[in-house]
């Protein structure tokens, strides 16, 4: 029987089909107070007007409405009817400004601007013979009644800017001088102060990426109608995003840079043009890199929020401009190398969600904005916001991130999901600095993102705050996983601290592959692959959090933490104060070093480990009285993941030695006695999970869980089931399973919330990731 979860499931209707209502592609929509999203659309005129030549389709403009919370849709033709096809639209305080194109039904193709006043007065129209690039057009708000159109000369690729303004009941179009520099469509344009427009970055290369791309900016004075060179950005960027902030500065984010080049994932970095100094200044980096993304403001239930998203990475981040704090607000199953097509936020039962529609990937001729590429995410309020009245449905407890550190809930403190990597289109993954909190009621909030993006980090509650150590990420000195260098640890102080932001921790830094565990006194025990141990304590040195290190006696054997090879090390202080180190790969040989001293009789030897690291069979136990490590008896099977119980028993799922290379691979579950002198095979009453190299045992809130694969579900390699050992019955109970043929990505980073009957008979609500710890 599955454990229960308190939150009621909220049914969110699917995205309308194209036949029901085509959603706009990369256009701004207007959110109405009743929860509807509305935009200017178009539909074929039916029946087709008589007299049209063959091959000519007649289109008429419509007001389209969609309420994502109810699924309701509505299309209403403009009255009086207007022909045309919408290319771009911009909600202005006075009405909707749109760039449309009229076609054969009106005789010839022409661009037409429309202004649809909010007060219901007749639409204003302005047709023009000016040539705009039909693949590059952007409307930027200049004032309540005015906007700029940024487009290109199709042949020369020079940037063209027009202003469109409503004056005395008429629309007027003014052409600005051309910026005679050829550009791909990978630059950004932003309003930069009063009557100024800035072109930023971009390139004129043949390929996407930054090979090369530009740091230069150009500023157009809309009054004098003159271009001038602007200050250079701190980094050259293409496919970046830029927008004006309320203080008149310009926010610049992401894109491809020389450091974050095509293939390694887009850039996380952000900078800001300061009009007071006319220079760019570095801002904290985004939680993940992004390209082909956008900036938009959204009236969230927790207040007006600046969001950055809808790009290559399937995530949207918020930036609090009062303290330049980034948070990850929403995350979707997948990103798209081509970028997104639409972001549709809405509110249901007090919780915010958003549909993200991605562009299809694959062959370049087939990429398109199709509505079946839409996926849903909960939008997480910031932790500083007033708690929402109801938690979201438990099905929304998912980050789609791999390799995140999971810090279980402790008392009233929420569980935390920290960092990890997420999909960013095709075979690309980017590493994240996102932090989410999930309380036992299932409420999710977003916390300030880490300073450094990292995956496979470890997190602990230390000194009233949260300490994150280790892991690897793009900010490692040599980058990525090829040669990851130690990342600086970070500590988030208690929530009442101002500013409540992650702080770099000085002192000891930990290699990415170190095994770390927390002792009962709050200090950490870190084990280096060479078998040396250090106990780490967080102290304050000159106001800066610092890790102080004290050496411990080395293990008898060097032991390597190899999570990528399903050989994670487990370290635990037992109920009686002993410490057990199990798992990993062990270097079983030790050899004395040759030296002059080694030639002299009676001199002690200095020993080092040598040889290959092999799957473990023995674990080691530290006796605090003697301060020595002792080896356990060897398990029957080699290697495998382990979990250490508080009484000293170790459970492992290891591979049975094969007598021949052709013999089938078989795993066995073994448990040691508390003294570590013997192992026995463990019965798995009621369990349906397959015991193999994906089987993972783990503990949360002193309950034992197993994550692995259920036969026949075909989820493509990800975990498809989670079981809990009911200590009262001795039976394994299934807590969760994937649906048949689910894509494994659908459950990456999924958090389960289950209420279980504890050993003491009392019920408790447990939060645990489906992939285990």
């Amino acid at each position: 029987m599955w454990g229960t979860a308190a939150a009621a499931a909220v049914t969110i209707p699917p995205v309308p089909t194209y036949a029901e209502l085509p959603l706009p592609d990369n256009q701004q929509v207007t959110a109405t107070p009743n929860g509807e999203l509305s935009w200017l659309g178009q539909r074929p005129v039916e029946p087709a007007p008589k007299g049209l030549r063959q091959g000519c389709w007649a289109w008429e403009l419509t007001t389209d409405r969609w309420n994502p919370s109810t699924g309701g849709t509505k299309r209403t033709p403009l009255e009086p009817r207007l022909s045309g096809f919408v290319f771009s639209q911009l909600p202005l305080p006075t009405g909707l400004l749109a760039l449309t194109k009229i076609g054969c039904q009106d005789g010839a193709e022409r661009w037409r601007f429309l202004h649809l006043p909010l007060d219901g007065s007749p639409a204003l129209k302005l047709e023009t013979d000016e040539a705009f690039d039909p693949l590059l057009y952007a409307l930027l708000k200049l004032g309540d009644d005015s906007a700029a159109l940024v487009t290109r000369d199709v042949e020369k690729r020079h940037i063209k800017v027009y202003t469109i303004e409503r004056v005395k009941g008429r629309l007027t179009l003014t052409a600005m001088p051309v910026l005679a520099i050829p550009y791909r469509g990978d630059f950004a344009a932003a309003v930069a102060g009063q009557n100024q427009l800035m072109i930023l970055g971009g390139s004129n290369g043949d390929y996407r990426g930054c090979s090369p791309c530009r740091a230069e900016t150009h500023i157009l004075d809309l009054k004098t109608k003159a271009w001038r060179d602007g200050p250079s950005m701190l980094e050259a960027r293409s496919e970046l995003a830029a927008s004006a902030l309320p203080d008149g500065s310009v926010l610049v984010t992401g894109g491809w840079t020389k450091v974050a080049e095509w293939g390694s994932g887009a850039s996380r970095t952000a900078e800001r043009w300061n009009p007071a100094t006319d220079k760019f200044e570095a801002l904290p980096p985004m939680p993940t890199g992004a390209a082909r993304h956008k900036h938009f403001w959204w009236d969230a239930p927790w207040g007006k929020t600046l969001l950055v998203g809808q790009g290559t990475v399937g995530a949207v981040h918020s930036l609090d401009t009062s303290n330049w704090t980034w948070r990850t607000v929403g995350e979707w199953t997948e990103g798209s190398e081509e970028g997104g097509c639409g972001f549709f936020p809405f509110v249901v039962a007090g919780n915010a969600y958003a549909w993200l529609r991605n562009r299809s990937e694959g062959h370049y001729s087939s990429k398109s904005c199709e509505q079946n590429y839409a996926s849903l995410s909960l939008l997480r309020p910031p932790s500083i916001a007033t708690p929402l009245p109801e938690p979201p449905s438990d099905s929304a407890l998912v980050t789609y991130r791999h390799g995140a550190a999971f810090l279980p809930a402790a008392g009233a403190a929420p569980a935390l999901v920290i960092g990890g990597s997420r999909h960013a289109g095709m075979n690309s993954f980017v590493i994240s600095s996102a932090v989410e909190a999930i309380d036992r009621d299932g409420r999710v909030t977003t916390w300030p993102s880490l300073r450094t993006a990292r995956q496979n980090a470890r997190a602990f509650r230390v000194a009233g705050g949260v300490l994150v150590i280790g892991g690897s990420g793009p900010d490692s000195p040599y980058g990525g996983e090829r040669d990851p260098k130690p990342l600086t640890a970070e500590w988030l102080p208690p929530t009442a601290t101002v500013p409540w932001q992650w702080q770099e921790v000085g002192g000891a830094s930990l290699a990415p592959d170190m095994a770390v565990s927390q002792l009962k006194d709050g200090s950490l025990l870190a084990i280096d692959p060479n078998g040396s141990l250090q106990q780490l304590r967080l102290v304050s040195r000159s106001g800066k959090p610092t890790l102080e290190s004290t050496p411990w006696p080395s293990l008898n054997r060097e032991r390597h933490n190899s999570p990528d090879e399903h050989a994670e090390m487990r370290v635990r202080e037992l109920n009686d104060g002993h410490v057990v180190v199990a798992g990993g790969k062990v270097r079983s040989e030790r050899i004395a070093l040759y030296s002059e001293r080694a030639l002299k009789p009676g001199q002690p030897d200095e020993y080092v480990g040598i040889g290959e690291f092999l799957p473990w069979r023995r674990y080691e136990t530290f006796d605090p009285a003697t301060r020595r490590w002792a080896n356990s008896a060897p398990a029957g099977a080699a290697g495998g993941r382990a979990t250490v119980l508080g009484d000293g028993r170790v459970i492992k799922a290891g591979e049975v030695p094969r007598t021949t290379a052709e013999a089938p691979i078989r795993f066995v579950l073994e448990v040691s006695n508390p003294a570590g002198t013997a192992w026995t095979q463990l019965a798995r009453k009621g369990s349906r999970l397959q015991v193999d190299d994906k089987y993972s045992l783990f503990q949360v809130d002193d309950e034992l869980f197993a994550s692995g694969e259920l036969e026949g579900l075909g989820t493509g390699g990800g975990p498809s089931g989670v079981e809990w050992l009911n200590s009262a019955t001795g039976q394994w109970e299934l807590l969760w399973q994937a649906e048949k043929n689910d894509n494994w990505r659908k459950h990456q980073g999924r958090i389960l919330r289950r209420t279980l009957a504890g050993a003491d008979g009392k019920s408790k609500t447990v939060l645990t990731p489906v992939e285990g710890l």
């Binding site: 040989e589 030790r590 050899i591 004395a592 070093l593 040759y594 030639l599 009789p601 009676g602 020993y607």
Partner: protein, 255 residues
């Protein structure tokens, strides 16, 4: 990549089991000790003659003895990996004259000048057929040899990091003696280096037969009586294994 041609030395000197020590009075070639490891092998040259004048050092789980053995010889050429022309040599086949229990750990040529080379029990403290004994140290590749009178000898592989090699050291209380290089080709070490230890020449001093060969290298018989100043034992005979046709690639455990 390193290429070892140690066997060329054997070809040049024309001796494959090389005597460097003698019997009681340390004399001459007539008293050389000659031994081989392995029952089927090719050796360069033509110095071996078929015959029944061999002894097999046969060991069980707790003891060893010399048993009569025979050698069959066939002319055969061997083409080395880098040689233009094949090398002339002999295919040697060694067998016990009467089948029996135990494992042959070495073959010794009878020599009338050496009285202790005779069939019968051999005082043995350790052999590669015995259960290996580890000394009470951290070194997992070290071996202990319990000696009469409660003494213990230890064989201690050492890692010479600057030199990029492994060395084997023989230790007795108050004495340490470097023997030779271990794992010189693969750069990996096991505890198979000790072939035998005992008192082969009945002089009351421990003797050791150590196999340093690792595709290249030699096996050496150390006799207590041959110990030089400051030594525990001295080299009395050397066995050069058949030539190695490959290359010593990689760095093994030294990487």
């Amino acid at each position: 990549m390193r290429i070892r041609h140690a066997w060329w030395w054997a070809l040049l000197v024309g001796a494959h089991a090389v005597a460097v020590a003698a019997e009681d009075n340390k004399s001459p070639l007539s008293s050389t000790i000659e031994f081989l490891l392995g029952e089927d092998q090719w050796q360069p040259g033509d110095r071996y003659r078929a015959g029944n004048d061999w002894l097999a050092l046969v060991c069980g789980k707790a003891d060893c003895r010399f048993e009569p053995a025979k050698l069959a010889v066939r002319r055969e050429k061997w083409q080395g990996h880098y040689d233009d022309q094949p090398t002339s040599g002999q295919k040697l086949t060694l067998r016990r004259q009467a089948p029996g229990a135990g494992t042959v750990v070495a073959w010794f040529k009878l020599n009338p000048a050496i009285s202790w080379l005779a069939a019968g029990p051999v005082t043995t403290y350790a052999a590669n057929t015995f259960k290996k004994k580890r000394p009470a140290t951290e070194g997992t590749l070290e071996l202990a040899v319990d000696l009469p009178g409660g003494e213990q000898a230890t064989l201690v592989p050492l890692l010479d990091r600057p030199g990029g090699k492994f060395l084997l050291q023989l230790r007795m209380p108050g004495k340490r003696q470097l023997l030779d290089e271990l794992g010189s080709c693969s750069h990996m070490v096991s505890t198979e280096y000790l072939v035998w230890a005992g008192d082969i020449d009945h002089d009351g001093k421990p003797d050791y037969l150590i196999d340093f060969a690792d595709d290249v290298g030699e096996a050496k018989l150390y006799l207590g009586r041959e110990a030089g100043p400051g030594e525990i034992a001295g080299v009395a005979a050397i066995y050069v294994p058949p030539p190695f046709g490959g290359e010593c690639d990689g760095q093994g455990w030294l990487e």
